[in-house]
């Protein structure tokens, strides 16, 4: 590596100590999305730094660790050690946004549980596809609840512990009601063009809340 120690002394500003330079390149490599070349590193570091020398120390420091400093072409990057790849499975899964239909179905189950499929369809105004329910069951966000004591004894759906876990809820009862959603700005109060807004929308919410707490009582 290029040794320019003799020049350091002639510098107007003294370069930071090598340990500090090592910290600097460590932080930059960590935070960069792309591999970084020595030239780029030096361009970012205070005047008189020697990224090459600091890199030697840094690479030695990470030798045998769970994270490695690897050379990629002319540049350097930090990577997890190849033998630990099996731990990274969670990073490799492709995370997709839940479809709108699934979110709405899930929301209805959370707010109205225990709820039957027919009730979900009534609230959504469209039929619920099998795939949607299957997906939510597979994610373990919903499960089958008790059968309803109505003709046909339909099964109901309820949300699971892992649902609460995922959404950071202690309790499905803590879900905000319509009025609260509106107050938080999550509910656009704009009626669709041409339709007449119904008055006294407050009652709707109260009913929901009451219904909810009633449903959740054990």
């Amino acid at each position: 590596m290029a040794h320019e120690d003799d020049q350091h002394g002639q510098c107007l500003f003294e370069a930071p100590p090598m340990a500090e330079q090592e910290r600097m390149i460590e932080a930059v490599l960590f935070a960069s999305a792309e591999p970084v070349s020595l030239r780029e590193l030096e361009a970012r570091m205070p005047h008189g730094c020697d990224a090459g020398e600091a890199m030697v120390y840094l690479r030695k420091r990470y030798d045998g660790r769970g994270v490695q400093v690897v050379k990629v072409g002319d540049a350097y990057a930090m990577r997890t050690a190849a033998d630990l790849g099996f731990l990274m499975q969670k990073e490799t899964v492709e995370v997709r946004k839940l479809s709108r239909a699934a979110i709405e179905t899930l929301a209805i189950i959370a707010y109205h549980q225990p709820v039957t499929r027919a009730e979900i369809e009534e609230i959504r105004g469209v039929s619920v596809s099998r795939g949607t329910v299957d997906q939510l069951l597979e994610l373990e966000w919903i499960r089958f609840g008790r059968r309803k004591m109505t003709p046909g004894r339909p099964v109901t759906f309820v949300v699971t512990e892992s649902f609460l876990d995922h959404f950071g809820l202690e309790n499905a009862r803590d879900l905000p009601g319509l009025k609260e959603l509106r107050a938080a700005g999550l509910l656009e109060n704009r009626p669709p063009p041409g339709s007449v807004p119904l008055l006294g929308d407050g009652d709707v919410d109260e009913e929901t809340t009451e219904g909810q707490s009633e449903l959740f009582e054990d």
Binding site: E94, V95, L98, A102, R124, L181, L187, E188, P192, V204
Partner: protein
């Protein structure tokens, strides 16, 4: 402004200038409490030692001045002014033993507490924002999707998605036209389709009511809906030039017949 005779301490020039500056910037205040807090700074004392009486005077003077300048003050500023006027009188007059409720001192103490608390929150907000922040002062790993071996699809949603989803359904519900009795509604589309099939046979004038679909004539709710939609569909067909329609007198029977093809399209 008018009651200077009652003022023990005359308003200094600087204070007056400050008040004027305040007035010009009246829109910049976030409500009466914010204004009171700003006014209290002119007292240049610890908020715990603030003179609420003096503050009440400052506020009332401010409101007077705003009125004189014909500035429109929001209602809550005026409500606060009325309350402070009341507080001022409580603080100045000896306590009336027959009167219920908290003393002027108690009310003043609470106002001072509110101001101190608001100021504290502002200080904390400033301290919070002055902290090192993620993405500004310290950084997370820049490259997160470096390992791509297995491809398993998982789905995610946030609580916000969930709540917005629910809100979406419920709002739609709220503004949905009345659809509870859907089974008793014969839609215009249905009527139009039905009429298109029927008009071929309507060579002679026939009563509108005879065109109603089967099973919709007896129940008044169903009959009303079917009549309305069949009538609307008929008008549509007249417009299209397939049908003629007539009514002999007001509230008389409405009659339909196929339009003669010679002058039709």
């Amino acid at each position: 402004m008018a009651d200077t005779t009652f003022e023990e301490d005359p308003v200094s020039v600087t204070e007056r200038l400050a008040a004027e500056a305040l007035i010009i910037d009246v829109d910049g205040f976030e409500g009466p409490l914010d204004l009171l807090l700003t006014l209290s700074r002119t007292q240049k004392v610890d908020l715990r030692k603030i003179s609420v009486l003096q503050l009440a005077r400052q506020y009332l003077a401010f409101v007077e001045k705003a009125k004189a300048l014909r500035l429109e003050l929001a209602a809550d500023y005026l409500v606060m002014a009325a309350w402070l006027a009341f507080l001022k009188s409580r603080l100045l007059l000896p306590p009336d033993p027959t009167e219920d409720g908290p003393s002027g001192e108690e009310l003043a103490a609470h106002l001072a507490f509110q101001l101190e608390r608001l100021q504290a929150m502002r200080d904390m907000a400033a301290r919070l924002m002055a902290r090192d922040q993620l993405g500004r002062d310290f950084f997370a790993r820049g490259q997160t999707h470096e390992v791509e071996r297995t491809r398993k699809v998982t789905y995610t949603a946030t609580l916000l998605d969930l709540m917005q989803g629910y809100a979406r359904i419920r709002t739609r519900d709220e503004f949905r036209p009345f659809v509870m009795d859907r089974d008793a509604v014969f839609t215009m589309e249905q009527a139009l389709e039905r009429m298109r099939g029927l008009i071929g046979y309507a060579g002679e004038w026939g009563d509108l009511m005879s065109f109603l679909p089967e099973g919709w004539e007896s129940d008044p709710v169903r009959r009303r809906s079917a009549t309305a939609s069949t009538f609307a569909a008929s008008l549509e067909l007249v417009k299209e030039g397939h049908l003629e329609i007539r009514q002999t007198d007001a509230f008389g029977a409405i009659q339909l017949r196929k339009k003669d093809q010679r002058d039709g399209a």
